[in-house]
Symmetry: C2
Amino acid sequence: MLFLESNLGDPGLYPGTQHLHDSVVQMLLSILHGDGLMGGRILSGGSEANITALWAYRNSRQRRQVLAPETAHYSVGTAADLLGMNLSYVRVDDSYAMSVDDLEAKISSEKTAVVVAMAGTTEHGQIDPVDEIQLVCARHGVPLHVDAAFGGLVFPFLSRIGYRKRLPAFDFTLAGVTSITVDPHKMGMATAPSGGLLLRNPTLLEAIAQPTTYLSSESLASILGTRCSAGVASAYAMFRFYGINGYMKLLQGCMQNAERLAAQLKDVGFRLAIEPISPVVCIRLDDEDLAKRTQRELGQRNWLVSRTTQPHGIRVVMMPHLQGAIIPDFVSTLRSIVL
Amino acid sequence: MLFLESNLGDPGLYPGTQHLHDSVVQMLLSILHGDGLMGGRILSGGSEANITALWAYRNSRQRRQVLAPETAHYSVGTAADLLGMNLSYVRVDDSYAMSVDDLEAKISSEKTAVVVAMAGTTEHGQIDPVDEIQLVCARHGVPLHVDAAFGGLVFPFLSRIGYRKRLPAFDFTLAGVTSITVDPHKMGMATAPSGGLLLRNPTLLEAIAQPTTYLSSESLASILGTRCSAGVASAYAMFRFYGINGYMKLLQGCMQNAERLAAQLKDVGFRLAIEPISPVVCIRLDDEDLAKRTQRELGQRNWLVSRTTQPHGIRVVMMPHLQGAIIPDFVSTLRSIVL
């Protein structure tokens, strides 16, 4: 609350805020195995982070093709339209993870500006096989942006608690990963606006710098001018308050609830898009009208959940504030609507 | 502070916040003679508002040329780079207002997507002759976006107090004005993020809509996804707290201080870019190195002011929190550095 009026867009006037910003970037880099990297920016959210990354790749590489999985967040489509880039979707397999074969067929050293991979898809919480994707990208000299807006503060903690499913690496441990979107205002528990863009090479942003003599810096490589810093202060506070152990505990609780929900849904006959590997449960309905009606009727009973399209269904994100005790009521309500 | 966690990007989950948002839009429309218009959006600031407007004009008109005065805010340059549009600058006259003759020479029905005019230039607080510009635009069938990020909540109140200089109209009273940027988080005294984009025809934004099934709305015509609503609640509160009379009094005080500063500067031999018509005082130094050194040395003495480039100099914005009593000290400090 103390930071509602300080402007991250004018760091000369707010050096303390800038220091918090840089600390948050370092903490995010550390969580995603980017220690020693100096590049990053806390922006307003995942959309701005993805758009900024694609803008920088377009300008620095003078290429216009973006390859992203069919499951990419809609902001990748926004970015492509905004930036005049050509977005080609890479097919996903039965588990809604990017098909490396289809990527291999579509990638082009001459045309592709950047490949986007997902770590935590919006609809399923799935991770693309980033470890394999990065090899394909590196072989073609194409940068790889990982949209871990949701998963970037989920999977590192699930891995640390020895979560039983083997999760592919997706962060800076992989040499082919050149940038990552990761949002403290999602599973980092920070308030918005707080979305991170981490860069292996911070000079990438020079490709989008605009001169701005009237601010305290001489140029600004950013879509937004004034940037509310409350989300940065909040991220700093949350990181210090929870720490690695706190987030591990938080995510363990979310994951237990997700598995409990998944089990109870299956018990009464629902099918899931994938077995949850993160606290996202995607319930197949396989019919658009049924999905719309279900979402609407759930909403009328104050269950505010999202609709999915791949497959048509309903998505539940088991956030930390949700109590496991509500699950049976949700499942029976859903059952009464659908089955 | 109560609104730090509510997301304007998901209005179905936050209907009360959306209601505040719509109220703020209506109040802004009312101040800018747009009563009865239904179009507007509170975004993160003037940069996002300008970029969003240009994006919508590019898509809806399938043209790529932007015409803007040499004094346009840098976000117009950001927008042009981001959107792949061609920004051509229109010359300004001796008073740093757009030359209508030069606009006439450059505008093209076939090529020009939009003309941008300024109401409150960043460096001088100047208004372009929007009343004449809109006629040129209308004659060529080209939309006119007015960037009144700063001036939109300055000039309406200065006009109402019968401020002695005749100010050109720049708002929806002029039929050729199709959209306006106006920022509550500048002279509206609201906290960031709170920048308004007002539209004569709200369907303009359909040209940039992206499908977003997983949110409570089916599509989103917006650069950002998650949008912190604290600035909207703050704008609502400020508008209700100050009211028209409160802002008139506030602006009168700012203007008196600007005129006092201008007079004292001229008394000791400084020259101004223009006689202030808003609470912006632009001090000519006419030398880039001198301007840089002056800004730096003022900063070392805790006078944090901006540098200008047209002309090279120093800019002071007399914001409401500044007391007139500090002016003599500033003038003598500036004198000791420069003269």
